[in-house]
């Protein structure tokens, strides 16, 4: 009983260490060394795939989240006759937390899953193997442009998400609930600081982007090359990258705003 427990723990830790090692090695081979000759055009292509194609879901969600936030915030603030602070509440909660986190979760669902499915399919149809046999490194040709595009795309998407959400908050707060337009903007301007609020939010989303794209590429590259394997990997990407992003958000918030 005890020996089987110990061997189980050993097995699990070994698997975990093996996984971490493989993932780090993959990241190393992708990012270091001579880059692919056509890295820039490939990167632009992926920026379109991961960034532009994620825009509809990011912008729509941003709008609705901003509107809901404004509603809920207003009804709490109005009890204290503080509804003029609505702009500050919306902007701070969006820039520091909601923006980076919700955009990251949406990105994991939209772009992360498609990355895993795409790479997994390339693996199962031997496209990756054939690339290797043509003396072309799949790390540099396939993974690197996707990783860099993911890291660039998510912070930009997060900023656009924030802009839409703040506008959505304005629509509800000012146009519907009657908060003064000047107060909405000036209170926001007064309470939001560039470095601690805006830049910290961007920094968060850069870190989320690395996590999500890395997990997505790893799960695709090491997917079991069958239809079932790919679908399992896709699910795993969304679940694991979302959880890691949320856990990392807690750590980052504690570091950035905790002291």
């Amino acid at each position: 009983m005890i020996t089987s427990f110990i061997s189980h723990v050993g097995q699990t830790s070994l698997t975990f260490v093996h996984l971490i090692g493989r993932a780090c090695l993959m990241l190393w081979l992708t990012l270091f060394g001579k880059p692919h000759r056509k890295l820039f055009p490939l990167f632009i292509q992926q920026l379109f795939q991961l960034g532009i194609l994620s825009l509809p879901i990011i912008l729509t969600s941003g709008l609705f989240i901003g509107m809901v936030l404004s509603f809920q915030g207003y009804y709490v603030l109005v009890d204290y006759a503080a509804e003029q602070s609505l702009g500050s509440l919306s902007a701070l909660s969006l820039l520091r937390e909601l923006g980076p986190v919700v955009a990251a979760l949406l990105f994991a669902g939209r772009a992360g899953s498609s990355l895993t499915a795409e790479i997994g399919l390339m693996q199962s149809t031997e496209q990756i193997a054939s690339m290797e046999m043509m003396a072309v490194s799949p790390y540099k040709r396939v993974l690197a442009p996707r990783l860099i595009a993911g890291i660039v795309a998510l912070p930009l998407l997060t900023l656009l998400f924030n802009v839409m959400a703040i506008w959505g908050g304005y629509l509800i707060g000012v146009s519907w609930l009657g908060v003064d337009s000047g107060a909405y903007w000036s209170v926001m301007q007064g309470s939001v600081d560039y470095v601690p609020d805006v830049l910290n939010g961007v920094l968060k989303s850069v870190i989320f982007a690395i996590i999500i794209t890395w997990v997505a590429l790893y799960n695709g590259y090491y997917a079991v090359p069958t239809a079932r394997g790919i679908s399992l990997s896709t699910t795993k990407t969304v679940v694991i990258s979302s959880l890691l992003a949320l856990a990392m958000d807690f750590v980052l918030t504690a570091l950035m705003f905790g002291a």
Binding site: L121, T125, E126, A129, S130, E132, M133, A135, R141
Partner: protein
Amino acid sequence: MAQSNHLVIKKLSFSRNERLLFDDLDFEFERGKITAILGPSGIGKTTLLKLIGGQLPVDSGEILFNNQAIHNCSEKVRYQARQKMGMLFQSGALFNDLSVFENVAFPLREHFKLEESLLQTLVLMKLEAVGLRGAKDLKPAELSGGMARRVALARAIALDPELVMYDEPFTGQDPISMNVLLKLVKQLNSTLGITSIIVSHDVNEVLSIADNVYVLAEQSIIASGSVDDIFKQTDNALLQQFLLGKSEGPVPFHFKGASFADDLEQVNR
């Protein structure tokens, strides 16, 4: 002798998932000849090609390509060797998002900076060789299985390799495309002098074009030599069963298990 051998494998051992696939095997592939590797499914024939291409590391043994070790070399040497090798994958492994033309142009674009007109000429020559110049604008999804394999063949020879490896090239082909592929493999070998390694279990088709044969079974080579030699080894029961495709022989029809009577007794107890 060393000069005429293009690829030599010495004392190769390889196991995967704690299952031994190859135990101390030796192969010699003569330059400019077609060598067939035959064996039942699941024996690790495709794995052998991946070992030659350096996609999997060997457990022990040596792989010498043009007298140069390629099993434990640097990444650079391996990539240089791969530029001289072509491989036709069983599924074709064409890039879905690229047209037929771009698929064949892919290795050329990756490795050389060619004038567009020269590149187009080269690609059209390769496509002409496999008879699919007319299909250059199609996407891989629009091709039949046989056509996809011919495009993949054009891509495999795009860099003018010295050695081409064919992974089950005839599996699942209709009689016409099977013959077209056979003719192409033979033609490429005789006109360009490409050393060819064909991994297959389509015995009759492969033996009709091969010069030398290795037959694998149970982690070892059970027969090797020229095609005529192989058929003369009538005392080798396993070989005969495989060549003639008999359902009974050293490889039993029944999967290992308890006897039928015992199983029935269990059920009716």
